[in-house]
Symmetry: C2
Subunit: 332 residues, 2 copies
Amino acid sequence: MTINRQIHIVELPKDKLGPQHFRLAEAPMPQPKDGELLLKTKLISLDAANRAWMQGATYRAAIEAGQVMAGGAIAEVIEAKAPGFKKGDLVFADTGWQEYSALAARTAQKMPKVEPLSYLLSVYGIAGLTAYHGLLNVGEPKPGETVVVSAAAGSVGAFVGQIARIVGCRVVGIAGGEKKCAWLKSELGFDAAIDYKAQAVGGALKLAAPKGIDVYFDNVGGDILEACLFRMNMHGRVSCCGAVSQYDGAAPAHGPRGIPGLLVTKRLKMQGFIVMDFNDQRDKALADLQNWVKSGQLKVPEDIIDGIENTPQALIGLLAGDNIGKRMVRVA
Amino acid sequence: MTINRQIHIVELPKDKLGPQHFRLAEAPMPQPKDGELLLKTKLISLDAANRAWMQGATYRAAIEAGQVMAGGAIAEVIEAKAPGFKKGDLVFADTGWQEYSALAARTAQKMPKVEPLSYLLSVYGIAGLTAYHGLLNVGEPKPGETVVVSAAAGSVGAFVGQIARIVGCRVVGIAGGEKKCAWLKSELGFDAAIDYKAQAVGGALKLAAPKGIDVYFDNVGGDILEACLFRMNMHGRVSCCGAVSQYDGAAPAHGPRGIPGLLVTKRLKMQGFIVMDFNDQRDKALADLQNWVKSGQLKVPEDIIDGIENTPQALIGLLAGDNIGKRMVRVA
């Protein structure tokens, strides 16, 4: 009998997420019902959103204790009991953190075969598309404008900064640590980088963005959002992608100072989005991303960890900022 | 010699604004220089923004102690030393709180003669235009949607709710006191009203806006903005017009909880604006407002106080929510 290794969440964190909130379990292979697919997980996507889901219902139902941890992955179809799919197909689906899953076929998205496979989770996956749509469609940068992105060395931020450069903007990244900041400039071509662990962000922005900020792509919320708001230019745009500073703790804290006062004074637009909002523009986005990757304009930083048993630590580390680029776990 | 009575601001308030921050003074008639107009103040506009200007630079320079209090007014041209103006013309200008002023003609906006004159400060002035553009161009309400407006019995809010009704929305007003709430429903046709002094706004919104909020027109910021954010529908819009809850005190407090988390989860847009941003659409707006007033669809609540010496108390009372409709002081 094939064993299905799984990571269960045993208790929802009240504060910081730790290894004690997870356990490795073994279950029998699931059996697909009519309309379902039996999937073998290949690459699990690790995202700050995994932690946000533990805080309550968001754009998906809240995660519950005692169950397999939720999460998206690239998986291979082992058995198809639904039309339109066949053995060997690749899909993206919310398989959860387990080796095998049986899911309704309508919840699985068929994926092309690309080399390397990991690009389906990074540049051609949620990370790349989120960066693309959130920057271009929500932030609406114009050539010559200044774009600032937080969590700049993370999966989304690294693409945001590079795409902003491609469309002709000055790009400032905010990241934690000297190593990430040096890497943003030398490897990804950012014009400037601010180490928020070593510098006061507000003061550093005066030097790094001397003409003010036109577009701020916000992955973190909290104090860094506040510092950026005070440096926004008139009619600036804040693309709200996430609030990772608020996820790994209790209920959300109060928002940044100056909201909504600064929004009025500076006539700012702050807009939240998630990548699915732009599904209708997916083909155009993928075509652009593919062209930029082929031409070498867009580098694809990835951080791949082996072994499903390491998934909890991979997420805990991601929330602490350990990763550079898109983090994922290779299962098979 | 004609005497020019003025209200000076003697000290900037560190906390709540009071009568001790003002004094009545007398000065000689100003003499207009080349390029200037000598103006006689007729109606002074009272706005929560007067108080916000005391907190620091906004879309205008901060107010300074020891000077005539700043403020817009309808005034009559007594002497014109600039082309394009003549004695007897009506203008809107930042005359300050005084009977006579000499101002650069380029800072004065010529006004048509309408009856009553006060409509130039209410429905055809900043209040009416702010409501029109902030609701229709920023909030973008669609027929059948639910619009919530705070400070609903105030100068802008009273127009916002009525215009939202005109364009086919369900309208909920938030105001302080039973009297204002009853008036919003009986006189202005609001579908529901919430007395924030007597009810918890979050709970009351569940009843008053059972299908959630699509557009929230925010005049107040703070806790009421927070309560509305939690009741917004997916892809809702927050039109940020002001934050009167934050003006009459020290520096701005932290923002509402859930920013930017809720903006992401619900894909909300929060956008600040001021009326001048829509100057290019002024004629269309005025034509619509005039038609609605003529047809009786749009009522024009006004609250006129006589005597320049009463201007400080008129502003202090406005910040406490004493007024119903647009408050102004008749000087001459």
